[in-house]
Symmetry: C2
């Protein structure tokens, strides 16, 4: 059975299993064995490919971030002009895929991890910077010198509403959150003109 080129397959399976396991428990308090079993292999193999629990978490975090980044980029590619692009960025944050239990759990736990793990901290900073600069770039032609402050508010509202909706026990989430952020955007545009 042992074939060549298993490494990338195993790593991907472990990353997915990790996110699923985080989603199932809500915590980072999960065992390598459980992850490995979910991914269909022994825990020894997980250690073999990743070296340790922390590495697995970071890989899962990178993956979550990558997926989100890809969604944003995809939405941007289809939007023309700064206003439509801003709306696309906002919408991308509240896709139903972002409200799957595992994804919410992943984000919340990564926030926690970022407090104590410098690598996690860096990854989160990257996400925040990218969001911020995407917003500023498209706000500049519309609100000029206020771009930075407006971007800060929009980013804050995105994160805050995501947090609130993600934690809301009754699911039913993203639609009105999108509307709220769009309302903020339009108010800012109106105020600046």
């Amino acid at each position: 059975m042992p074939k060549l080129g298993m490494e990338p397959i195993r790593r991907a399976a472990l990353v997915k299993a990790t996110i699923d396991e985080i989603g199932a428990t809500g915590t980072l308090d999960i065992t390598v064995s459980k992850i490995a079993k979910r991914a269909g292999m022994s825990s020894a193999l997980a250690h073999h490919y990743f070296g340790g629990k922390e590495q697995i978490f970071l890989a899962a975090m990178r993956h979550t971030l990558t997926v989100y980044g890809a969604e944003v980029r995809g939405a941007l590619a289809m939007a023309d002009g700064p206003k439509l692009r801003l709306e696309a960025i906002i919408r991308a944050g509240f896709t139903s895929s972002n409200f799957r239990r595992e994804v919410i759990a992943a984000w919340l736990n990564f926030y926690v991890l970022a407090q104590s793990n410098p690598q996690a901290q860096r990854l989160l900073t990257i996400y925040q910077r990218r969001l911020h600069s995407n917003l500023v770039f498209n706000l500049r032609p519309l609100v000029g010198g206020h771009a930075d402050a407006v971007a800060e508010r929009i980013a804050g509202l995105i994160d805050g509403l995501y947090l609130r909706r993600g934690l809301d026990p009754r699911g039913e989430a993203g639609v009105d959150a999108t509307a709220h952020v769009l309302a903020l955007l339009h108010a800012e545009l109106r105020a600046a003109s």
Copy 2:
């Protein structure tokens, strides 16, 4: 040494120690022994008074929430009229005491806990409802029927900026966050008039 009426003293010491320990590690992944040692007693005593780790966490959460609630109430007592009250609520969220490492860590971890623990979930819901209704009550005379939606945006921006500032590696936090939320508030008031 054993005197009577130790229970409330011990409980308070344990709650404080728990929050400090969460702040020191960033995680809920802490041991009852460490908490107890920090509070100057044996772990057995901690179990005696709280029954288990989870109970200790919930007590710590209740305490955090109570302190925050008291701050808001204090700020409200000194504010006259809906507009000043709204500003007081907003300011209360970004006090420097709310940006102490332990407090941030506590909130982040309580978010995580709320995913899997119904009691934590309930406590968080209480906080959210109280904030929301405080906002709505004071917004109603100013923006009428829009109060609900505006409150949602303000609450979202408060939580989101708190999250971002709390996670920001360079401290230096609350001042501009307050300004951002106040800016949103004033924009909403202007738009409604």
